[in-house]
């Protein structure tokens, strides 16, 4: 069995008094790709937000172990520096902040935390050049402000580009496929696949089996009303696509 990167045990979480996650358990090992599927409003983005440490969520029960220690007490930036990356469902725009500058600052924070020397502008640009090829991303986007005026698809691509630069240990992709056309979907998926190693792991949130044709998961989990009601291999996604969520609910 591979080394465990993330262990979620009976996690309960809510927001403003509303219980959203009602006992989620999930274990992710190095080298694995997990998919989480589930109907709208079932708590998928909430799970991602809680894992990334977003403010405003109350953890009311359970625990999360990341890299062998408790995750919940860490600030979001500490989690990020330890290699936890969230590709947002809705990436925000930061007007006036140059994308390259932003990414360099981010990478250097992560490097500092690892005890590595910071990269200067030239060294960073070399890293960028290398990764630009990987994702077939127009370099123009990097000259613009962070996500500002990017199309929906460009934003998603830019997220994966950030992932490529930051080389996370655990990447959580929240509906990265939504808003992508077929060609972009291929490019992004190929990028994600190239970023996969034996040391890292990916948690892919999606509604569509389509994405999983490209990013092939080792495990599929079905989240309904804040609980994982079924887990299985990649064929579970196909079954869901054919039968819908009702089938699971009835079976459960």
């Amino acid at each position: 069995m591979s080394k465990t990167i993330l262990e979620i045990k009976n996690l309960h979480a809510g927001v403003e008094g509303k219980q959203i996650l009602k006992g989620v358990s999930l274990s992710i090992g190095a080298g694995e790709v997990h998919a989480v599927m589930g109907p709208n409003g079932s708590g998928k983005s909430t799970l991602a937000a809680v894992l990334a440490g977003r403010d405003g969520y109350d953890i009311t029960g359970g625990e999360v172990i990341y890299n062998g220690h408790d995750l919940i007490d860490l600030d979001p930036e500490e989690r990020a520096r330890e290699g936890l990356f969230l590709a947002f469902q809705y990436p925000v725009e930061i007007p006036g902040v140059n994308s390259t500058y932003f990414l360099k600052a981010a990478l250097n924070e992560i490097r500092k935390a690892k005890g590595q020397p910071e990269l200067d502008a030239i060294e960073f640009l070399n890293v960028v050049k290398e990764k630009v090829k990987l994702l077939d991303l127009s370099e123009d986007l990097l000259k613009r402000s962070v996500n500002e005026g990017f199309s929906g698809g460009e934003k998603k691509r830019a997220e994966i580009f950030q992932m490529a630069i930051l080389e996370p240990k655990l990447a959580i992709l929240d509906e990265t496929d939504s808003g992508l056309d077929i060609d972009a979907l291929k490019v992004v998926s190929e990028g994600v696949n190239k970023l996969k190693t034996k040391e890292n792991a990916q948690l892919v949130i999606t509604h569509y089996q389509r994405l999983l044709n490209y990013i092939v998961p080792d495990f599929v989990h079905v989240l309904v009303d804040g609980r994982i009601v079924k887990s299985g291999g990649k064929e579970l996604a196909l079954e869901l696509e054919a039968k819908g969520y009702d089938w699971i609910l009835k079976a459960a």
Partner: protein, 482 residues
């Protein structure tokens, strides 16, 4: 996990690093304002009679005025009899003749502030005039400027050495009848900077004035007059700091800029007067009148200001676009945190044909700060084809602060075009979280987001100043978000 709002409150703490007091012997007039005080100031400065008379006229006019109440700021009534109107470092009765005569402690103060006065220590080509309390303490680079015919000296010195220029231009743009604080300044101003760029000369270096209030209870009333003759150009920088004191201190300056035909003046300010503590105690009242006159055709005046300090800021650097084809610009970043209040903006008065003005204002409010943009774009009947573009953006950090916009537009010529855009945004928790998620600490995220917001203004600042302004912004907003 704490909520964002809690942490915002926790962290609204700002350190003011310029808050030290220099222990100098000073010679001060007793507090209070009367014709005698004004005569004393004028005598101390060995002024010609016309100037004494001008001051007295201003004073008598001031007595008929009421302090304005229209700015959206609140403060206890100012007791004008409790202010010291004249304070200067001993023993020099007059401003020192050379830097060697300047008290070493004073020089040390400036070095602490990062303004080395001594020319040999100057790295960049910035000529500095420094005003300490009310007296100018030395002007660097004077000689090399003089070779080009440029006059850059303290106001007092200009009165002695170039009375004809002072007499010609003083009050041309801001007459003593202009407003309450302008009149007060005209009556009691003690020093300031004077700058004259002769015809056709491009000033080869940035000129700079540094203002410092040191003495307790003293007000600072400086007067700056910059004249760019035909075809001349100059870039001028102004910086200011003050010690931390519990009482409020009044700073009521007047700046007049005059650009003749084809002349250009760029005036940049980084204002960092002591803002008061996190409970709103102390801090400078910065009630300033700044105005430029584009007197000649094709002239241009550009104001750039970064306002981070002062308990209350009340200032509207303005342009009167008299000459045909003249241009006025106003780029502003105003930051309020804790209990700071700012009511700032500009007036662009279009009189000449084809005159153009640009206004870019960025207001940032944090803590319990209140930030108002107040601007007037006035197109007179004579101003055919006048153009104005205004953009006023406000950013809120936390939910106890306020942003207000008061744009006034008066158009009397139908060929004019006036465009106004305004936005208000809250610094998004989602933006901060996004940055956090990429490994950036919250304070760094805020700085980055705010600097991005201010980018259009910062790019107008001279390089060195832009770097300082960015740092200052960081310090001002330290702890404004959790």
């Amino acid at each position: 996990m704490p909520t964002a709002t809690d942490t915002i409150e926790d962290l609204v703490k700002t350190e003011y690093k310029y808050g030290f007091v220099t222990d100098l012997e000073t010679e001060s007039a007793p507090p209070g304002l009367s014709e005698d005080t004004i005569r004393l100031i004028s005598r101390k400065k060995n002024e010609p009679e016309w100037l004494t008379d001008w001051r007295l006229k201003a004073y008598r006019y001031w007595l008929t005025l009421e302090e304005p109440t229209w700015p959206k700021v609140h403060h206890e009534k100012i007791d004008y009899q409790d202010i010291v109107y004249f304070s200067q470092p001993k023993p020099n009765k007059n401003a020192p003749k050379s830097l060697d005569e300047v008290d070493p402690k004073l020089l040390e103060t400036y070095e602490k502030l990062g303004i080395p006065l001594r020319e040999r220590e100057r790295l960049a080509g910035v000529a500095v005039d420094a005003i300490f309390d009310s007296v100018s303490v030395g002007t660097t680079y004077k000689k090399s400027l003089a070779e080009k015919g440029i006059i850059f000296c303290s106001f007092s010195e200009a009165v002695q050495e170039h009375p004809e220029l002072v007499k010609k231009y003083l009050g041309m743009v801001v007459p003593y009848t202009d407003n309450f604080f302008g009149a007060l300044n005209s009556a009691v101003f003690t020093d300031g900077s004077f700058c004259y760029i002769p015809k056709g000369v491009r000033c080869p270096m940035e000129l700079s004035t540094y203002f410092r209030i040191n003495a307790a209870k003293s007000g600072q009333f400086e007067r700056t007059l910059i004249v760019a003759d035909e075809g001349a150009s100059v870039s001028y920088l102004e910086g200011c700091t003050a010690p931390m004191r519990d009482e409020n201190q009044l700073h009521a300056a007047v700046v007049e800029l005059i650009a003749l035909d084809n002349a250009e003046i760029k005036y940049s300010t980084v204002q960092n007067w002591y803002p008061g503590d996190e409970n709103g105690v102390g801090g400078i009242y910065n009630f300033v009148t700044k105005r430029g006159l584009c007197k000649g055709k094709n002239s241009k005046i550009s104001w750039t200001q970064v306002e981070t300090g002062s308990a209350i800021t009340w200032k509207y650097p303005s342009c009167i676009l008299l000459g045909d084809n003249s241009k006025g610009e106003f780029y502003s970043v105003a930051v309020v945190n804790n209990y700071q209040q700012a009511d700032t903006g500009t007036k662009m008065v279009h009189i000449g044909k084809n005159t153009k003005s640009t206004i870019v204002s960025k207001g940032i409010s944090a803590g319990k700060g209140q930030n108002s943009y107040r601007g007037l774009v006035e197109i007179k009947k004579s101003a055919a084809n006048a153009r104005n573009f205004s953009q006023c953006d406000s950013m809120l950090i936390g939910n106890k602060c306020g942003a207000h916009t008061f744009p006034y537009i008066e158009v009397k010529n139908t060929t004019a075009s006036v465009e106004h855009e305004a936005t208000t945004s809250k610094i998004g928790e989602d933006q901060i979280f996004y940055c956090n998620q990429r490994g950036l600490a919250t304070q760094d995220a805020v700085n980055m987001i705010v600097n991005g917001f201010c980018k259009e203004v910062f790019k107008e600042l001279p390089m060195e100043f832009a770097v300082e302004a960015q740092k200052l912004l960081g310090v001002s907003l330290e702890g404004s978000v959790g």
